[in-house]
Structures are given as C-alpha cells and as structure tokens.
Point group: C2
Chain length 323, copies 2
C-alpha cells in the first residue's frame, strides 16, 4: 500500500469520480475559533466517499475477473459505492444485506443495479453465503476498508485536499477525518504524507466507539465492545483493519471523540451555513472542529464531511438543534 497506488487510482477515477469542492463559511469559523474548510463528500456519487473506493477496486481488476462480477457485505454506503461502480463498469454486483435492513437502503442498492441477497442475521452467516456465491459465480469480494485498492480510492480524496489546501495557502493544519475501519483515514494520510506533509490527519470517532483512539494509544488493534447503538452508524466498525491500522499508527495524530448531540448540531450547521446534507457519522469531523476546538492546533482546520445518506426523520432531529 503506497502513494503510487493512490496516484494510479486517481488516474482511473478521472472523469468518473466527482471532484468535490472545499467549502467554508465565516459563521463556522466564528464557532470554531479558526478557519474551517469542509470537503463535502456527501456530494460524491452515491452520497459518500465510498464510491471512490468502489470505483478504484472495480477498475483495478483484470477484465476477465471483473466481468464475472463483484460481491460486498454491507447495508450502507459501501454497498451503494460498489453497486454503482459495478453498474457503470457494466458488470454484476451482488450485495449481501441483512433481511431487516431498511427498505429504502435495499431499494436504493437495487436501483444502482445490484442483486441484493438477503440473509437472516440470527440464523445465517453472511460469510458463508458470500463464500458460496463467490465460488459458484466467480465473484470477487470487495472488502469495505481493509483492501489496498479501496484504500487507494479513498486516498484520492486526500490528493484533492492537498491541492485545495495549497490553493488556499494552507501549509500546516489538522485534517479531521470521520473514521470507521480506517480506509478513508489511512488513504488520506498516505496522500498527505506525499503531497502536503504539513497537513496531519486526525481520526474522529463517536464516544463509546473509540476503537481507533484506543488502538493508537495502546499500539495494538483494539475492538469496540459493540457495533450498534449510535446514530453515527456509518463510521462504526468492530476494529481498525490489519492494513489500515499500521498506516494510521505511523501517520495520524491523536483521535478526537464526539457525542451524538454534537453530530446532530454539526449536521444543523452544515445545513444552515454550507447548504449540504450530512449524515450523523459524516458530520463527526465537523462536530470535532466546532465543539472540540481545544484539542486542535493551528489557524486552519480541514474536515471531511464523508457522507449524506440520512433519512428525513433523522435530519429533522438535526434541524431541531437549530431552534
């Protein structure tokens, strides 16, 4: 896993990925006590950065392998990213989802052209179902984060941040990244190491789901005791990956933690001041910039707003924080 893979992914993504802008607002600066720069990956295809990794992984396969199709386990942003990337490559995608997934997520994944295979969480193993399908149909598994070509794809977001920061004259800043398994975090960290060494990545996690924060402190991979029960579900994984963790260990600064209420407030500010839609997990880094400012250094802070796939009810809760 290295910067050359990210640059190669960037070439493959050209003309397919959306190059997202870098947004700012003096109102957010006032809250944060420094200039805040927001990379809105909610504007990416499928509403999250995951399309970058999906496209990167699909486009890295040889033609014959890719033609047989791909498979992913996910009910969330990774599913949609892989599904659309497969559709645009004209190859089959199978997404294995729990049968109790929200209907809208199932419908959306199907609308992106994927075959959805449902399984019963209580009685069936998604790994077994996936292994059987892969074997029978020759599908390639696209893991959500611990996969070099996925990390390379997410890292293209870091290349853009490096160029956009340079255009704003920002040479030194913390770059806060919404962090689950560490695919986006490690990809951006590698990109910045190469192109903007004065920018330092810092993972942001929900309180109580701080596996990366603890892993960075202890120096070994730590697990979350649970992986559900927080509105920032999009950035909660069991543990950092075997590939992503060593990269994070080498390159990133201390993690920051935010509360659910802070995530909702950050969603409200993103609505009000940037006019973009953030999901709770996607607003985590902005929340840290706005509400944990004593833990951040420098005159500028850059944050990823990693996704915007949120249902209207949850968004209404975020609007309620503005009253």
């Amino acid at each position: 896993m290295n910067i050359d893979m990210i640059r190669a992914a960037n070439t493959r993504l050209e003309g397919h990925v959306r190059r997202t802008p870098l947004l700012n607002s003096s109102f957010l600066d006032d809250i944060a006590g420094r200039r805040v720069w927001v990379k809105p990956e909610c504007l990416q295809h499928t509403g999250s950065f995951k399309f970058r990794g999906g496209w990167s992984a699909l486009s890295a396969l040889d033609d014959e392998t890719r033609a047989r199709g791909v498979i992913a386990f996910s009910s969330g942003n990774h599913a949609q990213g892989v599904a659309l990337a497969a559709k645009l490559h004209g190859v089959p995608a199978v997404i294995v989802m729990p049968s109790d997934s929200p209907k809208l997520k199932i419908d959306n994944t199907r609308a992106y052209g994927a075959e959805v295979v449902l399984y019963d969480r209580a009685t069936e193993s998604r790994e077994e179902i996936g292994a059987d399908l892969s074997k029978a149909r020759g599908l390639t598994l696209i893991k959500p984060f611990d996969e070099p070509q996925v990390i390379a794809g997410q890292g293209t977001c870091g290349l853009e941040i490096a160029a956009q920061a340079a255009a704003q004259g920002i040479e030194k800043a913390d770059v806060l990244v919404c962090c689950g398994g560490g695919g986006l975090t490690s990809g951006i960290a590698l990109a910045l190491e190469a192109d903007a060494p004065g920018l330092r990545v810092r993972p942001v996690e929900p309180e109580g789901f701080d596996d990366v924060a603890r892993s960075l402190r202890s120096g070994r991979i730590e697990q979350n005791p649970r992986t559900s029960g927080n509105i920032c579900d999009a950035i909660i994984s069991r543990q950092p990956g075997d590939i992503t963790f060593p990269i994070m260990q080498r390159l990133v600064g201390p993690a920051l933690l935010i509360s659910e209420d802070e995530a909702l407030q950050a969603m409200g500010h993103a609505f009000n001041r940037l006019k973009v839609v953030a999901e709770p997990g996607g607003a985590a880094a902005l929340a840290a910039a706005l509400f944990r400012k004593d833990q951040i250094e420098g005159e500028n802070v850059i944050v990823t707003l990693s996704g915007g796939n949120v249902d209207p009810d949850m968004f209404a809760r975020a609007l309620g924080t503005l009253a």
Copy 2:
C-alpha cells in the same frame, strides 16, 4: 450589456467566487424521463448566486467610488451577496431592510459586515431613505437585477454551465433558470448564446407570479398583481427589468410554471438524491424538470438550483413530502 462584460466579470471573480459543480443522479433522471444536470448555486458564498452579481458590481467600481461604500435594498439573497462582497473588498455596505424582516436575516446581513438600516414599511419610503443616505455618504446603489454589472456577474454562472455541458458532451438542451427579475436568466442566456448556442434558457416561475411568462407572450413588460404570498419569495419581483427583459425576449424559450407543492417536493429530492439544501424559489427549476417534463425537449435538461437560504421549519415541510 454584452458577453464581453460577462467575460470581464468572470476574470474579476476568479479566486473569489466558488466554481460550483454540475451534479446529477440516476434517481432524478428516472423521475424526469431524461438526464437532469443540476448547477447548485446554493453552494455559492452566502448560499445563492447573488454573490456573483454582488462581487461583479463591487469590483467594477473605480477605487474612489467603491471606497465610499455601497447600498442595497433587500432583505434577502441580494443583501447578503452585496454585504459579503463589500466586506471582502473592505468597503462599507448599507442594507436597507424592512423593520419586520426576520431577525435571522438581519443578524446574518450584519454578520457579513453590513450596516443594516431598518425602515417602517407602512410609514417610510425605502427609496427616500436610500436617496438620503446615498447623497450624504456618497454610497453607490447596487440594484438587485436591472444593473449591467450585476447581470454580468450572474452570467458567469452561464459560462460555467457552457463549459460543464461541453465536458459532458451535451450540445443541445433546455437550461431551466429560476427567474425573478431576470438577472440570472438574462446573464446565463447571454453567456450561452456565446459559448453554447445549442443550449436554450427557459425561465421558471411560481404559478400566480408569472410576470416573465406573460411578458414574453405579450411582448411587453407585464406586472405581478402582488409580490408576496408564495413560498418561492426569492424569485418573485414586481416585473422583469428594463435591461433584462429585452435580453430574455431575444434569447429565451417559453417560461415554465410550478406550484408551491412541486417546489417543496423538488427540495425533498435535492436533499435525498443530491445532498444539497434548496430554498423553495431555488428549487423551482428542478421542480419544472421533474414535474413538467412534457413541456421540455431533449435527452438532457440543465437546471439552476439558485439558492439554499431556507429556515429549518420550511425545510422540514420539504422533508415531509418524502414520507
């Protein structure tokens, strides 16, 4: 008023305006029955395209005139666009607003550095107040739409649309523009005439406030009987301008009309599928693309999403249309 003024404005805006992307979603395409391309000017500084015209007008003044400051009558997007443009130029801005304007709008305009002068709609004339202030302090009036340098600024949005359409291989399409007094509409029309003659502008208005539609049909400037009482307030003016109307008459196709409910639904779709925040008037063109498709020609349609300055309560109404 000509294309050279738009190109000159574009040069002056470089590095100051936000170059907004062109967004799309297969889900919107399915509703519209053709490919839909959205120019999200809600992502522009101050949350609407009005910053373009404000910057263009301010930057076109000679140094001495500009240093004395500018004045505008507006409680809306134009006020914020002028206020921020003046702040960034380091010159005073006076915004004359009705004393019953929402507190948030007054606060925001002040936060952009402007001096807000309130007047009583019932007993005072804003024109008199403005004339007195202009005379006493040498302020230059920046009109909201019927002013060549303002039109030139809004036209820069059209230059971007022309380039972005070409990049997508779109040579022929209707370009639906949310239309009040016609500043954005006529500016884009002039830009497209020069850079993308296969693209045809079509104004979009709220039902019952169809002054431009009627003016285009009759060949002379028609008025709206009233200028309030519709949620699309941002795009309601008394009548098209003396400068904007002849340009529209020469260059644009028939206007389209949309209902308030269609505007709210379009806001919901913009939230759900593009992850951007639209105000009702800003969603008018998208509403026409989605719900008045029989009146549109071609395989592609381009729409401006002209602003996103909407309060949480109104946005919650739009979210309600998704249920």
